[in-house]
Amino acid sequence: MTAPRREVVDIAFGAQDTNRRWRLAVIILAFVGAGLVLLSTARYGAGLSPDSVCYLDAARSLASGRGLVFHTGEPMVWYPPLYLYPMLLALVGLVTGLDPEVFAHLVNAALFAPVICLSGRLFKTGSLQTTTCIVLGVSAVLFSIPLSQVYSMAWSECLFIPLVLLYLLFAQRYWVPPTCCHSYS
C-alpha cells in the first residue's frame, strides 16, 4: 500500500515534492511564529526594559528629525552605531505615523518570521535533510522559550538574530562540502 500512496504524493507535489514540501512547511511555521509573537504581545504590546526605552527614544527622535538623541536631549554616542533596530522602528513610524511603542511588537513578529525561514534553510544544509527533520528542527526554534522571550521585548536582538542566521547561511558555504550545498536560487 505504500507504493501507490507514494505515487499519489509525487503526483500531488510534482517531481520536486520534497523541495516544495519543506519550503511550504517552513513558510507555514514562519507564519505560525509571527502569530505566536503577536499573540504573546497582543495585550500589552512589546515588553520594555531600560534598553528598550533607549531604542524607542532613538526611534522617536529619528522619526521627528532630531537625530539620535535621548529624551533628555543628550546625544547617543556609546550605543551601537547606526542603531539599526531603532532605525527600523523609526522608518515604520515615518510610514505609518504611529509611535514606535505601538507597533514594536508588529516589527518583532515580522522579524521572527525570517528567523524561522533562515533556520529552515540552515537545517536544509545539514546532514539530515528530510522534510521531517527540517520541520522538527524548525519547530524547536519556533517553540524555543528564550527566543519567544526575546521577541516579546523591544530589543535589538530581534534584528540581530536574523542577521546572525544570514551570516551563518553564507559562512556555511565554507565548511559544508560542495556536494552537500544547495543552490540559493
Binding site: V77, W78, P80, P81, L82, Y83, L84, Y85, S156, E157, L159, F160, L163, V164, L166, Y167, F170, A171, Y174, W175
Partner: protein, 61 residues
C-alpha cells in the same frame, strides 16, 4: 557575508565576534591556497569592520 557581518556589528557590538569567526572560517576553507585565503580573510575583516570604525571615528572627534 560581509554585509550581514557589518549590519550585525552595527546592530550590536557583540557582532564583532562574527568577524573573528568569519576570518577563522575563511582561513580554514579547503581548496584554496594560503595566500588567497589570507587576502580574502583580510578583505572580509576590513570591509566588515569599516562601518564600525567610521562610527567610532565620528563619535570620538
Amino acid at each position: 557575508m560581509i554585509l550581514s557581518t557589518a549590519l550585525a556589528c552595527l546592530t550590536r557590538y557583540v557582532g564583532v565576534t562574527l568577524v573573528s569567526a568569519g576570518v577563522v572560517t575563511i582561513m580554514l576553507a579547503s581548496g584554496v591556497n594560503f595566500k588567497s585565503r589570507f587576502i580574502r580573510a583580510f578583505a572580509y575583516a576590513a570591509f566588515s569592520l569599516a562601518p564600525l570604525g567610521l562610527w567610532g571615528r565620528a563619535t570620538t572627534d
